[in-house]
Amino acid sequence: MSWRDKLAGEIDDPKVAGALENFKASVDAWSEAAYSRPRTVVKAARHNWRFIATWALGCVLTAGSLAGGLYERHQRQELTRMTAMKAAEEKSVLERKAAEQPVAATIVTKRQPTAVKSAANENEDLLATVDSDVSRQVPAAMEPLAQMMVDNGTN
């Protein structure tokens, strides 16, 4: 029984049956030729190219992500360093200010005896001036009496 006879009940159109028969014969011929063809290494070469391209892409991506990570880390370190520097600077300013305050206090305390001395001198000068002024303002009528007091040594 031929292939076409076998399909007689299934396909009533002879054109379709003929086309299907040709189709089957074509696939058979192609399959036989492909099955017994000599094997080549073209595919392997293409695989190598793909393999290399995949590796290159993988390397680029890895390098990129590593560089990105390092840059990010560097930025963070830089930020931390800047913050630490700023904090240290502020701390040193505060410390300097704190250190300056006792010095001023000691300067004031060191300067104190000198000021007291000068104040005492000023008082003595003032008293001497007052004395001299008062002595000058003795009326002329009292002059003989004043002379007597000097003579008695009761000044």
Partner: protein, 182 residues
């Protein structure tokens, strides 16, 4: 019979099955994929899988039906993987409809008959290209591999009614293509 002798017989059985069915499995995969390299790879995988599971083959269906079922599943897996691996352009290796229809047996035909046959083959390929994966499998098993409906049903895991419905739709498409109404 010792276990070793039984194993040897099983190995011989399998070797004879590979020899007798390998060209058919390759032809089916080639017609399905239109890619010689891929068809060879999947044929290898099919027999490797069959060898691993040979002791589980109970003989409920013929060895050919069993092998066809493995080949169909491998083909499904391949398309599924290809969808995921979008960067792999495996379709680029598949040849076009016109190139596939160049193949014709060296029969006693006139040049005019050869041209007519080539045109018809190209039209059938175009119709096959437009079928769904399941319709294509059923169509190729019936009209290229010459399988019975019951065998196709077993190989595809479909009921005979569904197989008939798929075949009917596929034939309608081929008919339309040959009439030039598509």
């Amino acid at each position: 019979m010792t276990a070793e002798a039984a194993e040897e017989i099983a190995a011989q059985d399998f070797a004879s099955i590979v020899e007798s069915h390998r060209p058919q499995i390759f032809r089916f995969l080639l017609a399905s994929l239109r890619d010689v390299d891929l068809a060879e790879t999947l044929t290898q995988e099919c027999f490797l899988k069959a060898h691993r599971n040979w002791n589980r083959f109970r003989g409920d269906s013929s060895a050919m039906t069993w092998l066809m079922r493995i080949a169909i599943n491998l083909q499904k897996d391949h398309w599924r993987n290809r969808r995921l691996q979008f960067w792999r352009h495996t379709q680029a290796n598949a040849i076009g409809v016109d190139e596939a229809s160049e193949w014709l047996p060296n029969g006693e035909r006139s040049a005019e008959q050869q041209i007519l046959a080539r045109e018809q083959v190209a039209q059938v390929w175009k119709a096959v290209e437009g079928l769904s994966a399941r319709q294509r499998t059923v169509f190729l098993l019936r009209y290229v591999e010459d399988r019975e409906l019951s065998e196709i049903a077993k190989a595809t895991g479909l009921s005979e009614g569904t197989v008939k419905a798929h075949l009917s739709r596929a034939l309608a498409r081929v008919r339309a293509e040959l009439r030039g109404t598509r």
